[in-house]
């Protein structure tokens, strides 16, 4: 009940504060339009770098939303409410991650093909692109809860957050963009996707643990 209540509330809050949802998408759109202008090249060059660009954009656009996962709750005091309700902080962190994934991860996945088209991503790569993002966006949200819990009482901690979790996200980028790249070249993406899945499971089990510990540290 607590678990769902927290997810429900977070999704509702993000839904009402629309910028949470469209900010990453606008960010992606703005940057992707710069590529053809900056490169000045035809479809072939764009297609070559498309897997990497689509993936990096998905990653960066999620990164800018991570800071607020816990920070908003910390600042308005509603964090105290669920911490003091005796709620298991592992579950609380997990539900925060799930809510973040609903409001950021899913839009990013659904928007990725648009970016793909703008980058002339080869037609047969879209399935794998979305599948790889489906596996990876939960990781962004889960690691984001850890980072956000660590920096929630720091003013302007966004930069610190990026520095903290970027190294953890680098392997995800390698496997994810690698999967799309292999597919676009006509190879199998199986091994990349399996590694990505492994990362998803790993962060699903461990990240809430770390986030819960980070909340405790910050409250002491």
């Amino acid at each position: 009940m607590r678990f769902w209540a927290l997810i429900k509330r977070d999704v509702l809050v993000s839904w009402r504060k629309k910028s949470n949802i469209y900010q990453p998408l606008v960010f992606q759109l703005l940057i992707v339009t710069m590529f053809p202008l900056g490169l000045g090249a035809g479809a072939q060059t764009l297609a070559k770098i498309a897997p990497a660009v689509v993936w990096i954009l998905a990653l960066l656009s999620t990164l800018i939303t991570l800071e607020n996962i816990f920070k908003d709750d910390y600042e308005d005091g509603s964090l105290d409410l669920y911490v003091l309700s005796g709620m298991n902080l592992y579950l609380a962190s997990l539900s925060k991650a799930i809510a973040h994934w609903f409001t950021t991860g899913i839009p990013v996945i659904l928007f990725a093909p648009v970016i793909g088209v703008l980058m002339h991503l080869p037609d047969h790569s879209y399935g794998i692109l979305m599948l790889s993002l489906l596996l990876a966006t939960p990781i962004f949200s889960l690691l984001g809860t850890v980072g956000s819990a660590l920096i929630m009482n720091i003013k302007n901690g966004g930069m610190l957050l990026s520095v903290l979790i970027m190294p953890l996200l680098a392997p995800i980028l390698i496997f994810g963009a690698g999967a799309v790249l292999e597919t676009s070249l006509g190879n199998s993406a199986y091994s990349h996707l399996m590694l990505l899945l492994g990362c998803t499971v790993l962060s699903l089990t461990l990240a809430p643990l770390a986030a819960a510990a980070a909340i405790k540290i910050n409250l002491e």
């Binding site: 009940m1 209540a5 009402r16 005091g77 509603s78 105290d80 003091l84 005796g86």
Partner: protein, 236 residues
């Protein structure tokens, strides 16, 4: 031998004299030798408190003396740097959390949720199910009748405080820990808050709060804690 007896007597007497400050072993809530730190510095001399049901404790002290820090530590949001809290003879935190509700300076209202949604969330997070009628009743009592669909961010400061205080009526916890609950409230609001505190105490609840110039609430209190900053030289 006689002198020893006499000394024992004397000790007993002094003990009785300080009985108000010394914890009774049977007390429901016991706080023993509690101290808090801020930025590595101890804030006040050790606090002892023993509270039972139907009691009120008022914490007073100048700004910066550590009232909020003490209350947060009592609530379980942070830790005492030394000393402990014991509830029903146990130091286990979860048991205490189930029976207490803390309301601090950060009110915990979500701005873009309506009043009713804010209350529902708090109820659900405390594993209480509420229906629309109950939340409306609670808002009525808090003087927020008709505001149930209003976003919390659209309320005035006093109304926000009322919304936060209305949680107390919804959650039905034994211990209330309130950090300056009278701040931002108008006269009617202060009277209302005084009344709910009084009726909560008469119904077997217990309240710990910090307040400055609320004479009525000071008169009602069973325990007073006055925080005084520890002189610097003690630690240098």
């Amino acid at each position: 031998m006689i002198s020893l007896l006499l000394r024992c007597q004397k000790l007993k007497l002094t003990l009785q004299k300080h009985a108000a400050n010394k914890p009774l072993i049977s007390a429901l809530l016991q706080i023993q030798d509690a101290q808090c730190q801020r930025a590595g510095e101890v804030l006040f001399a050790p606090i002892n408190l023993a509270m039972d049901q139907s009691e009120l404790t008022v914490i007073a002290g100048p700004n910066g003396s550590g009232k909020t820090t003490l209350l947060e530590a009592m609530a379980g949001l942070s830790r005492f740097s030394s000393g402990y809290r014991r509830y029903e003879q146990s130091e286990e935190l979860n048991n205490w959390l189930q029976h207490s509700h803390y309301l601090g300076h950060k009110l915990g209202n979500k701005g873009n949720l309506s009043c009713a949604e804010n209350l529902e969330f708090v109820a659900h997070i405390n594993e209480i199910s509420v229906n629309q009628q109950q939340t409306e009743d609670v808002l009525d009592k808090a003087g927020l009748a008709g505001y149930q669909h209003q976003f919390a961010s659209d309320l005035s400061a006093g109304q926000k405080k009322r919304l936060a205080l209305s949680r107390l009526l919804l959650l039905n916890k034994t211990f209330w820990l309130l950090d300056e609950p009278f701040v931002n409230l108008d006269h009617a609001g202060c009277d209302w808050l005084y009344q709910i505190i009084e009726s909560h105490i008469s119904q077997g609840g217990a309240v710990i709060l910090t307040a400055h110039d609320q004479k009525k609430i000071h008169d009602l209190a069973n325990h007073h804690i006055t925080l005084e900053a520890i002189p610097e030289e003690v630690f240098t």
